[in-house]
C-alpha cells in the first residue's frame, strides 16, 4: 500500500488527535454524528472510535470470552461499519447500536472458534457478573454494612439476563429503550419488566418489606 492514510502515527499522536476531535462532536446528537460518519467524515469515525472503543471493550468482556476475542470483535465491527458507510441506516442511540452489533460480532467469532461448538446455558449464566463496590463513606455503620452484605447475596440470585439489564441501566446509564434494543426485546415494556422483576427480587432478598401505599 502506497497511500497509507495514517502513516507511522505514534501512540501519543493518535490519542491526542482523538481528544481534540471529541470537543467538536461532544455537543452533537447521536443521529447527527451518525449521519456524519455515514457521509465518510473521518473525524466522526475518530470520535466514535475514541468514545466507544473503551466502553465496547468493557462491555464485551462481561461475556465470558477472552479479552483478545473482544478486541477482534471490536476491530471487525469498525471495519464492517466503515465498509458500509454511505448506506448505513439512521441510528438514534449509537451506544445501543454498537453494543448490539458487538454482540453479533462476538457470536460470529465464538462460532468460528473450533474449541467451542455451542454456547451452553451454563456459560450464558456466568455472563455479567456484578460486583458490589464498597465505598468507605457508606459503610460507616453496622446497619449499612449488613445492607451491603445482603445486597451481595441478593445479587447472586439474579439471572445473567437480569444482571445484564441492571448493569446496562446503572453502569452504562442506558435508557429502557436502549436496553430493549441491546437485549433484543421487541417492546420496551419487556426490558422494563425484566428490571422491575430483578429489583423486586433484590428487595425481597434484602429483606425489605414492601410498604403499603
Amino acid at each position: 500500500m502506497n497511500n497509507k492514510p495514517y502513516p507511522n502515527y505514534s501512540k501519543l499522536e493518535v490519542v491526542h488527535r482523538h481528544q481534540e476531535i471529541i470537543k467538536i462532536f461532544e455537543s452533537k446528537s447521536d443521529s447527527e454524528i451518525w449521519l456524519a460518519f455515514n457521509a465518510s467524515d473521518e473525524m466522526a469515525f475518530n470520535y466514535l472510535f475514541r468514545i466507544y472503543t473503551p466502553q465496547l471493550f468493557k462491555y464485551g468482556c462481561q461475556f465470558q470470552v477472552g479479552e483478545e476475542m473482544v478486541q477482534d470483535a471490536i476491530q471487525n465491527l469498525f471495519i464492517y461499519l466503515r465498509g458500509k458507510r454511505g448506506s448505513l441506516s439512521p441510528v438514534a442511540s449509537i451506544k445501543a447500536y454498537l453494543f448490539k452489533s458487538l454482540q453479533y460480532e462476538l457470536i460470529k467469532l465464538i462460532k468460528k472458534d473450533k474449541n467451542k461448538i455451542m454456547i451452553s446455558s451454563d456459560e450464558l449464566e456466568a455472563n455479567f457478573p456484578i460486583e458490589i463496590s464498597i465505598e468507605n463513606s457508606i459503610i460507616d455503620s453496622e446497619e449499612k454494612q449488613e445492607q451491603l452484605i445482603n445486597l451481595n447475596i441478593a445479587i447472586k440470585k439474579l439471572s445473567s439476563r437480569q444482571r445484564q439489564a441492571i448493569l446496562l441501566l446503572y453502569e452504562d446509564g442506558l435508557s429502557y429503550k436502549d436496553i430493549a434494543e441491546i437485549m433484543e426485546f421487541s417492546e420496551v415494556k419487556s426490558a422494563r419488566k425484566l428490571i422491575y422483576r430483578a429489583l423486586d427480587a433484590l428487595r425481597v432478598n434484602m429483606g425489605i418489606d414492601k410498604k403499603k401505599k
Binding site: 501512540k11 464492517y80 457470536i107 463496590s133 449499612k144 448493569l167 428487595r203
Partner: protein, 352 residues
Amino acid sequence: MSDNKTYLNYKDYQLEDFLADEFFIEWVKTPNENNKHFWEKWLSEHPEKRQIVLKASQIIRSIQYSKRVDLSDSNYVRIFENVIRQTPSAEASFGSKTSRMRKWLFSFRQIAAVLIIGVSLWYFWSLGQKERVLPVEEITTSEIVQRTTPKGQKATFILEDGTKIFLNSNSQIRFPKKFEKESRQVTLKGEAFFEVAEEERPFIVQTADIEVEVLGTSFNVKESEEGLLSVALVTGKVRIDDQKGNRLMLAPNEMMVFDQFGEFRKTGFDPLEMTGWKDKKLVFNKNDILEVKYRLENWYGVEITIKGKFPNNWSYSGIYQDETLENVLLGLSRATDLTFSLKDKKVEIAYQ
C-alpha cells in the same frame, strides 16, 4: 408491581420505584444542572424521603461490573490502525451483505432457544397486569368542543379548569366541554402552547403518536409538516409516553424531538424561538429560505413563490413583534439580497 405503579408521583415512590426510575438514576450517576435542580428541590420539600433516596442511590452506585478491564493504549492504537488499513471497498462489503445477515440470524437461533422461555414468561406475566385504559370512549357522553385555526390565524382560549391554550395557526384542538373526574384530556393536531392550571387531575395532551402527561405547568407541543414532533417544556415537569411504550421525562428548558420513525432525542431549546409565537413574536433563527417561506405562509396565511437560486449558505435571523407582512418582507429584503412583490395573498420572493 403493577403497571400502574409507574404513574405514581415521586412522593409515593418506594425503594424499588426509585431504583427503576430513569430520571432518578440519571441524577445519581450523571448529575447535571437539570436533574440536580429538580431532585434537590424535591428532597427539600420531602425531607421524609431522604432516607429512602439515600439508600436507593447507594445501591445504584454500588452495583458495578465485576470485570473492570481497561483497554491498553497499545491495543487501542493497534485496533485503530488495523481498522483504517483493512477497510474494504464499498462494493466488496456490499456483496457480502446477504451472507452476513444469514450468519447473524443463524447464530442467533441457538441463543434464542435459551431465551425464549424467559421472554414468554414475561409476556404471560404482563397479560395478567391491569393495563391503563384511557377514558377516550367515555367522553362521548360529554360534549366535545373542536377548535381549528386556518393559516394566518391563531387562537387563545381558557378551558373550564382555568388552563390557558394558545393554538398556533394551521392547528386543531379537541377537548370536552366538561372534563372527567379522573383526568383532563385534550387532542392536538399542529402546535399549541399550554399553561396548565394546577390541580389533582392529570392534564394529558394526546397527539397522533404520543401522549404528554403534565406534572407541571407550561409547555409547547408541535407537530411539524416534515413529520417531526416536539415537546418543549418551559416550567414544571412533563412526562411523555410514546406509541412504542417509551416513557420520557422532561425538565424545564428541555425539548424532546420525535421523528417519523418514532426515534427521539432530547435537546435544549431557545424559548423565544419555540414559544415566541404565542406572544405574537415571529422569530427567525438562522432559518434557510424554505423555513422562512413555511413560517411566513403559516403566520400570514399567504402563498409564497420562490424565484431564483438562493445560495446554500443563505440564512436569516430576526424577530418581529406583531408586524405586518409587508414590514417583515421589507426587513428581509434589507438584511439579505432579495426582492419581493406582494399582491393580494400572493408573495413572490426572488434572490438577486
